[in-house]
Amino acid sequence: MTEAQQWVWTPVMELDELWEGDLTGVQVGTAKILLVNVDGQIRAYENRCPHQAWPLDQGDLDGRELTCANHHWVFDALTGKGVNPDDCALRSFPVKVDDDGMICVAVP
């Protein structure tokens, strides 16, 4: 996490706007970020499928299962690890909800 500590926390959206089971894409500087709300737990990943770089916010979130819309690669939305295929992973970013209920993401 030492690297992350040098990064800047950027508020991106209100937690109230990202419902449980919802996913959305946001831009932080030049970084395209995917936010998911898995039963109240927020995660932030690069909004880019490791398969062919399609944006993941066009996909589907069902429980912990995140599916890319174009070729149906499946990921564990809580860990970012590939489920099918299982030899890949999403790039994740530190994320937190601040005292004002804002989702904040740390990007380089």
Partner: protein, 411 residues
């Protein structure tokens, strides 16, 4: 007890999927993959798309890195061909003379392009291309870079994808499709026609209902004669289908009929011999008959099912078929089989190229073809699997979340 030996013949995603499944399911015997081609098992979908245009590096093609096979103790026999089988002695005969005994054998030999029969005299050589292997793609890419006009014979998926890639490279492209509508059986007439329009908008001379009569070679190119016209080009891609590689079972008791005949478990009728992927004429329990499917997802799933059954399980492959095709900026997907359907519902707009077209039988979604609607396809897969009856109105209504419709049942 001696160590069991499993042999996989084939070097595509199906073979890789089977090998990975065997190891992850705990098979610790000897595992040999006779790959045929001189490279580690690789993904074929990019060969007509990003790999062909140079937007994807060859290093990205392997299904799994070479190191994976070493770590997992999988013997990769690259560039070695299996020529035949002695099904009584349970031996695979390799081209080099080696006889490889097996306890279980998986045939994932895939297919090869159907040869185009209309070549006159010596026509052919470097100006006539086919696309199946990485080597084919390398040769085709090299020719495309020379920028000469391309004629594509056949408006199927390979033909359409290569046409799109060639346009991306700035090549002048003509597609010749015999039928009035391309891919009508797979997509339906409306969607097939829209696909032809997409190509025309991208500058492809996409001709339907036109039949090639002959192709001959001149000093500086090819001349293609059809029932309507005469075309000159520098390069011809023959994309007129695929023939399953079944020769390996010649002389055995394994049955072939449009592929190697297997049951729902990917088993042939000969003990210990399995077949999977493009080469397998698989009995699909959902559709009640043997189908041979030439798509990536099918190859991966067949490989996994065959592997588990090789280990003594009794698993059927009964997933509705799913495939995709990427052309230009468009993503096309299809799930299921529209045979026997009595109702068609379109969600979105075919003309606007954003739609999901559902085929229903007795109120149940059986198949969907979608353009640029991947999220609807994910929901449709669940709907199809659920067997739930849904109303046409709900499917058509864009304010109804399909995922909720599907979730209501699945959970």
């Amino acid at each position: 007890m001696t160590t069991p030996v499993f042999v996989i013949v084939g070097g595509g995603p199906c073979a890789a999927s089977a090998a990975a499944t065997l190891r992850s399911a705990g098979f610790d015997g000897r595992l040999v993959v006779v790959a045929g081609e001189p490279v580690v098992p690789y993904e074929r979908p990019p060969l007509s798309k990003d790999y062909l245009t140079g937007h994807l590096d060859g290093a990205e093609l392997p299904v799994r890195p070479a190191s994976w096979y070493a770590e997992q103790g999988v013997e990769l026999r690259l560039g070695e061909r299996a020529e035949g089988i002695d099904d009584r002695e349970r031996v695979v005969q390799l081209a080099g003379g080696e006889r490889l005994g097996y306890d279980a054998l998986l045939l994932a030999t895939g297919g090869r392009p159907r040869p185009f029969e209309g070549l006159q005299g010596s026509a052919g050589g470097e100006r006539v291309a086919y696309l199946r292997t990485r080597g084919d793609a390398d040769r085709l890419a090299e020719r495309l870079r020379q920028g000469e006009p391309l004629v594509v014979l056949g408006g199927g998926f390979i033909g359409c994808e290569v046409a799109a890639s060639a346009r991306r490279l700035g090549v002048e492209v003509t597609v010749l499709e015999m039928a009035q509508v391309p891919l009508e059986r797979a997509l339906g007439a409306q969607v097939g026609s829209q696909l032809a329009e997409i190509h025309r908008d991208a500058g492809v001379d996409f001709r339907t209902g036109e039949q090639v009569q002959s192709v001959s070679e001149t000093a500086d190119g090819l001349v293609v004669t059809t029932d309507r016209s005469r075309l000159e080009c520098g390069l011809l891609l023959a994309a007129v289908g695929m023939l399953p590689n079944t020769e390996i079972v010649t002389g055995t008791s394994v049955k072939c009929h449009n592929g190697i005949v297997v049951d729902e478990h990917c088993r042939t009728a000969v003990p210990g011999i399995y077949a999977a992927g493009d080469v397998a004429a698989h009995y699909h329990p959902l559709y009640g008959r043997h189908l041979r499917v030439e798509h990536h997802d099918n190859a991966i799933k067949h490989g996994a099912v065959a592997a588990r059954n090789m280990l003594g399980e009794d698993i059927a492959h009964d997933d509705p078929h799913w495939f995709w095709s990427d052309q230009y900026e468009h993503n096309l997907q299809s799930v299921g089989f529209n045979e026997g359907c009595d109702e068609v519902v379109v969600r979105g707009s075919i003309a606007e190229r954003s739609f999901a077209r559902f085929c229903l039988a007795d109120g149940q979604v059986r198949a969907v073809v979608a353009l640029n609607r991947g999220r609807d396809v994910i929901a449709a897969r669940k709907l199809i699997a659920s067997g739930l009856r849904v109303s046409a109105a709900a499917l058509r209504d864009e304010s109804v979340d399909l995922r909720r419709l599907a979730r209501a049942v699945v959970r």
